[in-house]
Amino acid sequence: MLCHAYGEYELGDLTVVDIGGYTLSISRTSQSSYRILLRYGGTEVSLGYLGLSSARSVELAPHPPVGGRVSVRYLMVRFGEGITAPPGESVTVVAQVPVDIGIYVRGTLVKVVPTRVKYALYGPSDMGELCRYVSDALVNGLHRCLRAPLKVSLSNASRSTVSVSRVVVPLGSLGLYLNGERAPVLTSVKVSVRSQAYAEVATELTPSEEGNGFTKLVVPPSQESYAMIYGV
């Protein structure tokens, strides 16, 4: 099992779990409350308290990226080099996206711990959208258990060649599977490029990897679309 750290943990006075270099410590502060701390690369972040009156165990599982400190609804995937597609052609690329850590109590998600977070602005500063940001530089060095492939199928529906350097994806509709090695895999995305300035992005229900013995659907996906009106 590549990602054996995901799973159920009995809570004692101090429970420490290391997931790919990100150490999550859950310490008891009273009979029914626990404090959560996240440590990574010399940084320590307090993630607040967890109130558990009767449950004595939690389950850790990967979760599709969430907003974090800033409330955002979209994920901007930046491709290192622009993806060029001639008119009428389709291209499929697989981007790596950091996943967050979900804390479940009796099967209910109670907290999401963001891991590698960065934000970007899509569009003008007054009408644009703040997005969670992903690029190669951000994912480089991240353990396989903390990143997931995201398949992006681009089709050029315009009459000229387009170069796509970024895609904005609705965050809330991304689903997440665990593959045979319990490593996270995100559901895929379809992009229809109408021009260099406009594209339609739609989330799909299918996982980004196929034929690798999926064992578990962790977060169910939904279908949602987004119109990229500020260019690709």
Partner: protein
Amino acid sequence: MLEELAEWARENVHLVYRYLAAAAVIAASYYVGRQLSKPIYRARVEVRPEVLHNVARLVRLAAILIGIAVALSIVGIDLGGLLLAAGFTGLVIGLAAQQTLSNLFAGLTLIFEGRVRVGDSVRIGGDGGVVESVGVMSTKIRLWSGEVLTVPNSVVVSSPVYNFSRSVARRAEVSIGISYTSDVGKAVEVIRSVLWENELVLAEPEPTVIVDSLGESSVNLKVLFWLPAQEFWTVRRGVVADLKRALESSGIEIPYPQRVVWLRSSTTSGSGPS
């Protein structure tokens, strides 16, 4: 005296009833106006609070005006003549109260245009704060220092207004002077690294570090980076402190103002400055 009054009342009993009825109508219209405006104040609709507030006031005012009109007709005052007189009076008052009317129309413009809204962080002229209310005559701003500033609406409409709440992101600008002996390339690298490590400094638009000027005591760098508007001041403060720490620990000197003084010594005594 009392007898005379009683005599007058007996003779003009119909008139007394009329006055009483008129007073009752005005009181009733005031009550109805209040009752009608109450649910508007409390309405849970997706309308800006300043619009709701002013609509409620207008409804109350309209109810009272209708009540007064009915009361006047009850006591037998000709409304047509009164309106004619009111038109002439209105013209005179309009000329005399230009400023008031200007504020009123500016207020209506503000309310319906939505240039500033309740809760917005704004700077109008030299004053900055949070908008507390937008009335028909004036706008109240709770200044950053806590005082409440009332600005006439005509001033708000005619002044440049910075509305910080309308942007989702804002650009921060920090100037840093490093010593002439420090490596500029290394300083830029350190600054970029600090900005990249801070999760709230936006990756796009990309931060920019430029060598801005060659000062008297330092090479001046300008650092431009974007932040989520709601976290602007907190993060900017933190970034400035992080930049100082990182530059110092990388051996890059942020110098004090300095002046090089050349002392010229003369070999011949008694002539020229030394």
